[in-house]
Symmetry: C2
Subunit: 456 residues, 2 copies
């Protein structure tokens, strides 16, 4: 334990910021299974991937041997605009809970995208620009990723086209407006502007949309425009690589004060935040240098790790993307319209899936009313109104801290506070008015969805 | 000029944070004129003021001789949750403008209230709690102040009742919801719950409300409840005192890198941000230790400094508050429903008014379409979507930096970025859609309003 007095916020100096991303796959004994080409069902080649993604990103996607990949200088310059993100000691929350535990959170919300998504958005936009592309297409659920990509594209002078899950488009008009302010075009998905959108609208009239649908539309839109590529904000290996900046900074801040984490907690939708936060710590575990509990928290309404199957599945509803081996509820799974839009994805990053499969991390699921109760408790004492997604991690961090209160243990609990809830006030209103419910899919619903996963 | 390399963001260490507020009135040769009791038109006593405000705040309001007033430890602890605020070197904006000027901004938006208002909210709530009060009442225009007070009250366990200018209440339902999340009661003003509200609704049917009305209602509500006091987020001497933390931190950050400011720019509504930012620098000017230009920026739609009169006037529409000598457009002035709600106030802090009257600071007014153009330009390169209020300062900072481009001067320009625009997306939408106009009151309109100011 540290003997130095720990400040409320640990900021790294700019000179202490990481200069390379960490690729946890290099240290994994069991590598994530390869992506499969949807046409051949064979492992996809870099050339085939480069038809969908930028060339450099296709390379990063397939590289499971290089441990450290240098962050290009222009990306590091952009990072300095909003990073390093503080590692905050939650002194007030500890006092409120009366726990002997020491609680820390890595706060990624202090930028206009409101989340960690900007870390990968600027990297992906940079490689697109370097390749001489005109623009990028993408999907967004809760809106953080779309906002992040809009910001990165505006900064670099790239065109940005966002397919936004219809329910979010309607519930979050102001999110859409932030993207428009940064010059992006925003289309509610499923739309009638793509073939796959028209097909899904035909099959599910009046659908609220899903991330899986929006991905299919964005991929099609990129394929149909000269000088465009598709980019994705989560799930992919490349995204987890970029997001490792979260974990690297967290580890550097902890090391600066000789703090050894006992438990690390992150919310898990597609896995971008969780994977980024835990990478360097998982690396320590894999190399036998340290040990700690790592907990992935997912919503009870969309429990891919805790109730899904570890198999090959499609990443998108339209089945145009490569197949991935992952914990999945089936690409046709339509999660309830919960308020944590960023966690409503049927699958999980293949890196996180493999780590979970190998017992290197745990997983748990929580219900949204409990999540919002934790969010409000946290907001009142820590002064930050958290995003619903991030609040899944808060819920479990509080629960673990309360266990420490029972046992008297002064554990070091670290969680990822991925973002702010300023565009989620409709959800908070539902909660404040006592109108929020919980939705947990039945075993039958999940079994029916799992049954539709193709045999590969 | 500094020889050290200047980082993108200058953060003070917690140990370097100010331990006392600076009271610029102590150094002013011409003190601000005293507040007058509305009943007697004589200078108000501390006892009379303490009927409206907390005792300690009444004392601070009248103290024009103590230069440094210690910040209570619990307030300093709260400050450490979201402060120090960074002083940011706007490298990207400089590059975008191609200016030799060095541009710095003090960013106060990294907290859930989204602005500097929290600096005074926690101080005022603390003194209310210390006095054993049950709760506080207040008004809010744009909503930042109401949010800040809700947060501070939740932290200390005080009841918080907010009268929110009706047009903001309707345009910003999510702001209201943040306050409710922090446990506050929010009432649109003018309401039918107070006598003054009913009177104003009767006189101006269908009125959108104004800060002046909402103040009157909040004062009445406090007077009618045992254990309640009224608190105000701007204009008052006590508020500028608390907000001096902005200027003190800014000066400490500049000093750390041997940077001498040539121009300091702040937006000015009631004067809380401007007064706080400039206080230590005005102190230097008053003591003959340094000189620099200081520019107050107000909206052309509500130009109290540039087109108002320097006379005694009421602070509120209902005429229940003490009278103050200030630059004013008349307490009956109804500004157009511009999108910078935080600047729609008919008067100006008496400290700022006196400094302007004595030629220690300049003032200028800008139109809102130009302000939003500056906001979007800034957002795209600096990554922060600014509040409309703050963007008034950005407009003038950009204009001054462009003048430097003409003259080739590498001036140090410092401006206050008071907050973020995440709850102002309706305004951005109007701007993005080309539907935003400018409104400048005619000479006749202003003359008519000025004519109604009482002779004291």
């Amino acid at each position: 334990m540290s003997t130095k007095e720990i400040p409320y916020k640990i900021y790294l100096e700019e000179s202490e910021m990481p200069e390379a991303w960490y690729n946890v796959r290099a240290d994994m004994v069991n590598k994530p299974a390869p992506l499969l080409d949807p046409a051949t069902l064979q492992p996809i080649t870099e050339d085939a991937l480069a038809q969908v993604f930028c060339r450099e990103l296709a390379k990063q996607e397939l590289d499971d041997t290089t441990a450290y990949i240098p962050i290009p200088q222009p990306v590091r310059d952009f990072y300095r605009m909003y990073r390093p993100a503080p590692l905050v000691r939650a002194y007030c929350l500890e006092k409120e809970l009366g726990t002997p535990a020491h609680i820390y959170y890595k706060f990624e919300g202090n930028n206009t995208s409101g989340s960690h998504k900007l870390n990968s958005a600027i990297a992906q936009a940079y490689y697109a620009k370097e390749q001489g592309l005109k623009g990028v297409t993408t999907e967004t659920g809760a809106g953080q990723w779309g906002t992040a990509l809009s910001m990165a594209s505006a900064y670099l002078g790239l065109d940005c086209q966002v397919y936004m899950v219809k329910v979010s488009y309607e519930q979050k008009p102001f999110r859409r407006e932030v993207m428009r302010t940064y010059g992006a075009t925003v289309t509610p998905s499923p739309s009638m502007t793509t073939e796959v959108g028209r097909r899904i609208n035909g099959e599910f009239p009046g659908t609220n949309g899903s991330l899986g649908c929006a991905i299919s539309e964005a991929v099609e839109a990129a394929a149909n425009q000269e000088g465009y590529r598709y980019v994705l904000g989560s799930v992919l290996n490349q995204v987890l690589l970029h997001q490792s900046i979260i974990g690297l900074e967290t580890k550097a801040a902890l090391d600066k004060y000789d703090i050894t984490p006992d438990i690390i907690i992150g919310c898990a939708g597609g896995g971008s935040n969780l994977g980024g936060l835990i990478s360097p710590f998982v690396g320590q575990k894999l190399r036998g240098e340290a040990d700690m509990r790592i907990i992935a928290v997912e919503p009870a309404s969309c429990p891919s790790l805790t109730r899904g199957k570890y198999v090959y599945d499609f990443c998108d509803t339209g089945k145009v993307c490569p197949l991935q081996k992952m914990y999945t509820l089936g690409s046709g799974f339509m999660p309830s319209s919960s308020h944590a839009g960023g966690l409503r994805y049927h699958g999980m990053s293949s890196v996180v899936s493999q780590l979970y499969h190998d017992g290197l991390i745990e997983a748990t699921s929580v219900e949204q009313t409990g999540v919002f109760a934790a969010a409000v408790q946290f907001a009142k004492v820590e002064g930050i109104l958290p995003a619903p997604e991030s609040s899944h991690a808060i819920r479990v961090a509080i629960d673990e801290a309360l266990k420490c209160k029972q046992t008297g243990e002064a554990k070091n609990i670290v969680f990822g506070l991925t973002g702010t809830g300023y565009f989620d006030m409709y959800a908070y209103q539902r909660f404040n008015d006592g109108q929020m419910g919980d939705y947990i899919p039945t075993d039958e619903e999940i079994a029916a969805s799992l049954a539709k996963i193709p045999k590969v």
